[in-house]
Amino acid sequence: MSACAKEPSRSAVSAYTKRAWIVLWKDFLIERRAKEHANALLFFCLLLLFLFQFALGPDRERLAAAVPGLLWLGFILAGLLGLGRSFLGERENDCWEGLRLTPGDKSAIYLGKLAGNCVLMTAVEIILVVLFGVFYGVDLWTPAAPLALVLGLGTVGLAAVGTLFAAMTTQVRARELLFPVLLLPVQVPVLLATVSATQALLLGQPLADVAHWLKLLAGADLVYVTIGILTFEFVLEG
């Protein structure tokens, strides 16, 4: 009896996961074939590095002190471009209608898109961290593991709200302007937490010293993803 009751729920979960996976895989295939985002975004990261360098001057000390803030400024700027485009392709060829007509829970589409955006942001972050390490002479390797945790938690928070707002603003005129205007104030906690935690880690403090920031980030991630899952179907109605 219990086995019978369990069976449908398990298959429902696997169907849900599969739908999310299909969305992720579809976006990955499009990206691999068209190479629309990634190349330009990576080049953009390099340009950001130049920009920071020119804005702050060649003084290494000053650059090193500003690294946690600059790093996250870079992620956010690249994120605004990358995340903002995540639903743009769906506007063509009635793809949006296709997504809407997909049977089952629409939040699977949200999670698929979110996963894709997390992968994209992670790629951008790895590139930026490596570039920062090389060009600014900052030791990012010693605290690599705790830093990765902070980056991961921050990325989920940024991408969770970013994905939701990207879906929303795709349908709105003045999309490029509205997306950052909506996203940036909501992301203030994520930015404060990640920059503070990154700063502490780069100063050689142990992970326990930033535990409160990690908890805040984890809590924020949970809240943002939950709201995204619950409200995405209303956004998708177009």
Binding site: L178, L182, P189
Partner: protein, 213 residues
């Protein structure tokens, strides 16, 4: 009904002015400038009330799809931004003589400023979508996220400042409040809540008429 509420508000605000300038004593340390509190504190309380209504209206709209809830959220959002702006401006005017600066990145100032930006974004989103049904849906999502985000913003900003300096620089004296000051504050708070209710009912009425045309 609305008209009666309007007159009640006028009486309340007059009583609030009288209480703030006449009844309440002159504050010992700060002098008369402290009286700006009778505007500042009721304004921020009203703003929070407004954002709670945005949240409730947004949830209720998504659940029922009745445009009345969207009108409530929209009206409350507009008034909330107004009162948050009033809070920031009055706080700034209060801060200049007491702390010697118009603005400091103190925890409470920063979180109020963030709140202001979130809801300005909410209004901006509303202004950019023509289709009333889509506007209501998108705005509701932002309204919910913005309200749920308030505690997260609060803690992050508090810890952010705690990292740099203790929050002693602000913290207007925590000593027990003179009952007269407390009463004047209460009268003004009631008056501001009435004013909010009046604005809200007027604004919702205007929105309803706009939708009819």
């Amino acid at each position: 009904m609305t008209r009666a509420l309007g007159w009640l508000t006028v009486v309340g605000l007059a009583a609030g002015l009288a209480a703030g300038f006449g009844y309440a004593p002159r504050e010992a340390v700060q002098g008369n400038v402290q009286r700006i509190m009778y505007l500042h504190v009721p304004a921020v309380l009203t703003a929070y009330l407004a954002f709670v209504l945005v949240l409730l209206g947004s949830i209720a709209y998504l659940a029922t799809r009745r445009p009345g809830w969207d009108r409530l959220a929209a009206a409350a959002g507009e008034i909330g931004v107004l009162f948050t702006g009033l809070t920031i401006v009055s706080g700034s005017i209060w801060g200049k003589p007491t702390w010697g600066t118009w603005w400091t990145w103190d925890a409470r100032l920063t979180s109020t400023a963030v709140l202001f930006c979130v809801y300005v974004g909410y209004l901006l989103l509303r202004s950019l979508i023509e289709d009333p049904e889509a506007r209501a849906r998108y705005a509701a999502v932002v309204g919910i996220l913005g309200a749920v985000n308030i505690p997260i913003v609060h803690f992050s900003v508090k810890w952010w400042r705690a990292l740099h300096q203790p929050s002693t620089i602000l913290g207007p004296e925590r000593s027990p409040i003179d009952p007269a000051i407390g009463l004047a504050l209460f009268v003004n708070w009631v008056a501001f809540t009435l004013l909010f209710a009046y604005f809200l009912s007027r604004r919702m009425e205007i929105a309803r008429l706009e939708e009819q045309t």
